[in-house]
């Protein structure tokens, strides 16, 4: 207790006898037990997540003899790009032997209109739902949200009939329509939440300024919503590119998307299994979404988080 009174002299400087003891920045130990555990766990888990990608890459660069001999984790002794060439241009599905390139271009042809159409429709939906509510608009929205939880299997067959009636079954546009429909719930939610977060005052100001439904949409809302359009695009490009079920149901073999063709190549029972070609094909298919993922980074995360958390 006496220390307390003696701790400062008149100038507020610590009195002698108390200079030792903790002072200044607290020392940090980089290798504390907690830190080792923390980083150890994170690194081990990271290795688990990264390993399949590594295996895909190294396998696709090895020749078949080397694969049969050795360790799937080992880097290639002799790098060969032959499997990539074969996967892209020569691999067979059924009687066609022109490789995955066909599926790639099919996917692109499906992707572009699907992404444009689904985002255009959903953004207008979201805008109407947040700013121009009318009698029944909330009912449609509720059904749409519930629809997101209905297993596709329940709806696929009647849609086949509908598309057949419209003459779109088995065509590219039929699949585009299906992607637009099934992308609608999540995208509408995304845009609705975004447009709702824009201050209502802005919308009111635009109305006082005499802008109508489309005027406000194109001249006020869309320019403000560019980031969310990018998020929606990322969401749709990866989603549609990765789709398998709709591709297999609603298209014919000539316009099968890449995923369907990939599965047919790898899981075909004929011939000798060429694991290096299979992995090259798998990587090729994964390349588009992976590129988007690694390039867009934060926006990708934002997209899935926005879609998920608020839903």
């Amino acid at each position: 207790m006496a220390d307390v009174t003696a701790s400062t002299n008149g100038n507020g400087i610590p009195a002698t006898g108390l200079v030792e003891g903790p002072r200044g920045a607290k020392p940090k130990r980089t290798f504390s037990r907690g830190n080792i555990f923390l980083y150890g766990t994170l690194i081990v888990v990271a290795v688990y997540y990264a390993l399949p990608l590594w295996v895909m890459v190294v396998t696709s660069l090895k020749g078949m003899p080397e694969i049969r001999m050795g360790n799937i984790f080992a880097p290639p002794v002799e790098i060969t790009f032959q499997p990539w060439v074969k996967a892209w241009a020569e691999a067979c599905t059924g009687i066609n032997c022109d490789g995955l390139s066909r599926g790639f271009w099919n996917s692109v042809r499906i992707l572009v209109p699907s992404v444009v159409l689904s985002i255009a429709v959903a953004s207008v939906n979201g805008y109407a739902l947040s700013n121009w509510k009318f009698k029944g608009s909330e009912v449609f929205f509720t059904i749409l949200m519930l629809g997101a939880f209905i297993p596709y299997q329940v709806m696929i067959y009647p849609i086949v009939i509908l598309l057949r009636e419209m003459g779109l079954y088995g065509t590219l546009w039929g699949l585009v329509l299906v992607h637009t429909i099934f992308g609608m719930p999540i995208l509408t939610l995304l845009f609705r939440n975004y447009f709702t977060s824009i201050p209502m005052d802005l919308f009111k100001a635009a109305r006082v300024d005499g802008a109508g439904f489309w005027g406000i949409y194109f001249r006020v809302m869309v320019p403000m919503a560019l980031p969310i359009f990018v998020v929606a695009m990322i969401l749709q490009v990866t989603g549609i590119w990765n789709d398998f079920l709709f591709g297999v149901i609603y298209t014919k073999p000539e316009i099968y998307p890449m995923t369907v063709q990939l599965n047919n190549i790898v899981n075909s029972v004929q011939g000798v299994k060429e694991y290096n070609v299979n992995m090259a094909a798998t990587l090729l298919t994964g390349l588009v979404p992976l590129t988007i993922y690694f390039v867009s980074g934060k926006l990708f995360v934002r997209g899935i988080a926005a879609g998920a958390v608020k839903g």
Binding site: P199, D201, K204, A205, A206, R207, V208, G210
Partner: protein, 357 residues
């Protein structure tokens, strides 16, 4: 001539009655403030006038024209919002001209009006900037400018200064007042800030629960509040209320009997349960109190020095009582002070109806 007239306006959101049978006439060139706490319906009323909300029943006239069913841009109004509501991707110039472009006005006329508004508001150097590059005060100026270029008869302000800090708010308040003096337009101004209301308004409409409690000049509202709610709402620190009985010129509260003969009762005979309201700044001390009919000794419980003046908390007639003293007065808890009250400056309210007596 009335600039804006509202006739028995009703607005219901489902079962919730936000506005009920509301009538209001606003004179040409008047500065009217709608004042009330949040949820009182003041912003809702403004949105109805603007045409941004559809009314359930009733009519709205602007310049003697029935605008009840007209679109906002057809009503001859300009509006300034609390959150500025500037279009972020357009320049200041684009923001100012957006409404005019929508109305397909000739380019030369647009340029003329934008230049004039920019001159009045002194925002000419900012015209090429985006809103993100402006300060809060500059943004609100642009927002006012957007209403200005429309060259309309009626300006609507929806809490325009609430997002600004205290100093800027005071500056812009003066500017709005100056603008009104120069333009002589009708202005309807919504706020929850009583200082803004008192300083700006020609008349204040105090709202509560979708109804207007009192519509009068600031002085009238301050000196002769029409009911207890208004009396409590206006003034800071707020009015002291003493519960008691009125009987032939005397007010009895917790054993104390006060002489109220100097109070101008509106009715001939006032008696029965009543509430006496005394503003803290109307309580006198020192030599001023010696001439007043009501005097008492009170013991100081708490002192809040505020610089310019000092607020003293005491008990009077067994009830909490605050009064204001000069900032230089030396008081400490425990002191006994003699105070005086002028009944002519007080207010009496019926305890049941809460209306002014």
């Amino acid at each position: 001539m009335h600039s804006v007239s509202i006739r028995s306006l009703d607005l219901h959101f489902g079962a919730v009655k936000v506005l009920q049978n509301l009538d209001l006439d606003i004179f040409d060139g008047e500065f009217l403030v709608l004042l009330g706490s949040s949820g009182c319906g003041k912003s809702t009323l403004l949105n109805c006038i603007a045409g941004l909300l559809d009314v359930t029943d009733g009519q709205i006239f602007i310049k003697d024209k029935n605008v009840t069913w007209l679109e906002p841009n057809e009503r001859g109004i300009g509006m300034v919002f609390q959150s500025y509501a500037l279009y972020p991707q357009m320049t200041v110039e684009g923001n100012l001209s957006f409404g005019l472009r929508n109305a397909r006005m000739p380019k030369a006329e647009i340029a003329k009006r934008v230049a004039r508004a920019a001159e009045i508001l002194q925002i000419e150097p900012l015209l090429k900037r985006k809103p993100a590059a402006l300060s809060g005060g500059q943004r609100q100026r642009v927002a006012i400018g957007r209403a200005l270029v429309r060259d309309v008869d009626v300006f609507l302000f929806d809490e325009p200064l609430s997002n600004l800090d205290a100093k800027l708010r005071a500056d812009l308040r003066v500017e709005i007042k100056r603008l009104h003096q120069n333009l002589e337009n009708t202005m309807i101004y919504v706020t929850h800030d009583q200082v803004e209301a008192m300083t700006l308004a020609d008349r204040i409409a105090i709202m509560k629960g979708g109804q207007i409690m009192q519509l009068a000049s600031p002085a009238e509202i301050y000196n002769r509040p029409g009911n207890k709610y208004v009396a409590d709402f206006i003034g800071s620190p707020s009015m002291n209320f003493l519960e008691g009985m009125l009987d032939s010129g005397r007010f009895t509260t917790s054993g104390e009997t006060l002489d109220t003969t100097a109070y101008p009762f509106s009715g001939s005979t006032a008696h029965g349960p009543a509430t006496m309201g005394v503003r803290p700044e109307h309580v006198a001390t020192g030599h001023e109190m010696q001439s007043l009919p009501i005097q008492a000794d009170v013991s100081v419980e708490l002192v809040e020095p505020m610089g310019s003046d000092t607020l003293v908390w005491t008990q009077f007639a067994g009830q909490t009582f605050r009064f204001r003293m000069d900032g230089q007065a030396e008081v400490a808890p425990g002191d006994t002070i003699r105070i005086g009250i002028d009944p002519a400056k007080a207010s009496f309210f019926d305890q049941k109806t809460e209306l002014r007596l």
